[in-house]
């Protein structure tokens, strides 16, 4: 009896430590996901609109500026209008798919700040 007491306690303590670690991990993951969700949930429509219009405006402004500088009529502005539109769609896609407005494609597996499985899940929930 006296010998079995500590023997029984030891596995249960390490078991408890493991359970606490698991719960903490889950809570951290949950908090992380909630943070992301509130960002994408807050005024998504306005955000997407601003992303689209802002990028398009930057494209047109650059085209207009280059036209004035090089004197190439309206042509560069037309080209940059379409490029700006494409960049705007790209930014919107990145904003809503929760990759995070980053230039360059980021694959879930290449994300180093979280596990690849979790990154995948985040991408889908967005």
């Amino acid at each position: 009896m006296t010998k079995r007491g500590p023997d029984e306690k030891k596995p249960s303590l390490s078991d408890l430590r493991g359970r606490i670690a698991r719960v903490r991990e889950r809570e951290a993951a949950e908090a992380n996901r909630q943070g992301r969700a509130s960002l994408s949930g807050g005024g998504v429509v306005l955000r997407v609109g601003i992303e689209m219009a802002g990028t398009l405006a930057v494209g047109v402004a650059i085209g207009w500026g280059l036209d004035r500088w090089l004197g190439t009529g309206p042509w560069l502005m037309v080209v940059f209008l379409f490029l700006g539109g494409a960049a705007g769609v790209l930014n919107v896609y990145r904003a809503v798919s929760n990759i995070g407005l980053a230039p360059g494609y980021r694959f879930p597996g290449a994300d180093d700040k979280s596990g690849d499985g979790e990154g995948d899940q985040k991408g889908k929930s967005g």
Partner: protein
């Protein structure tokens, strides 16, 4: 009835002109000073006692600190710890400017696009310098998605560069548009309250609901600004 846009008017308090540049102290400057004083007072008074069991004010100060620390840790990673002071200052400044602006008779600094654009361009230039300093010429590979065929470069690179250059604009526009639209809407409904007499109870009820919404927007936009800065910093530090 006053115009709903009158609240955004810049009034000069002390005129000053240095070398042909107008550097007058305006109501906008005044409320920036008030915001910074409020932040300093809040944090200094909060940590003055340094109690092991924090009081109310210390709890609030610690909560702010830990919130931003968590934001940086989750979105930038451990490499972002060096940039915590910058992101914390940015978040607190925008948060205090937004919320102080909601007090009647005050001025909302962040409802002017030049202020938000100045903040955004500082973030943009800073993040670009961090990226180039850390990765050198490799940083420019940022603008070409890995795995894309090389003959697509003439189309993809301009799009990626434009998408990158649009960052400060959309960052500034988001904060500015939210603050300006919200404050204009508040003033429009406030005007209805007086104009409708007894029936003004209805717009008054809407006004209260709108005010609550604006309070959420004020905090949320400070958070969005900070989190996007974190994401941009993450991209600069880790590329893709």
């Amino acid at each position: 009835m006053a115009s709903p846009l009158q609240q955004f008017e810049i009034k000069t308090i002390a005129a000053a002109n240095i070398g042909g540049v107008n550097v007058s102290f305006t109501n906008s400057s005044l409320f920036m000073v008030i915001a910074i004083t409020a932040i300093t007072a809040f944090l200094l008074l909060g940590v003055r006692k340094r109690a092991l069991v924090p009081g109310r004010l210390q709890s609030m100060a610690e909560l702010m600190y830990e919130f931003v620390a968590g934001l940086v840790r989750d979105n930038v990673g451990s490499a972002g710890r060096a940039y915590f002071p910058f992101i914390f200052s940015l978040f607190m400044f925008i948060l205090f400017c937004n919320t102080i602006g909601l007090i009647p008779y005050t001025f909302t600094v962040t409802s002017h696009i030049i202020v938000t654009f100045a903040l955004a361009i500082v973030v943009f230039i800073g993040v670009t310098i961090v990226g180039i300093a850390k990765h050198g010429m490799k940083w420019f590979s940022y603008f070409f998605p890995p795995g894309a065929p090389i003959y697509m470069a003439p189309l993809l690179v301009p799009i990626e560069v434009l998408s990158y250059l649009a960052r400060p604009v959309t960052l500034a526009l988001r904060l500015f548009a939210n603050m300006m639209a919200g404050h204009t809407m508040l003033k429009v409904f406030a005007g209805f309250v007086i104009a409708l007499g007894v029936a003004g109870v209805a717009p008054l009820a809407i006004l209260i609901a709108l005010y609550m919404l604006e309070l959420i927007v004020a905090v949320l936009q400070a958070f969005v600004f900070a989190i996007l800065t974190c994401l941009y910093l993450h991209d600069a530090l880790h590329l893709h």
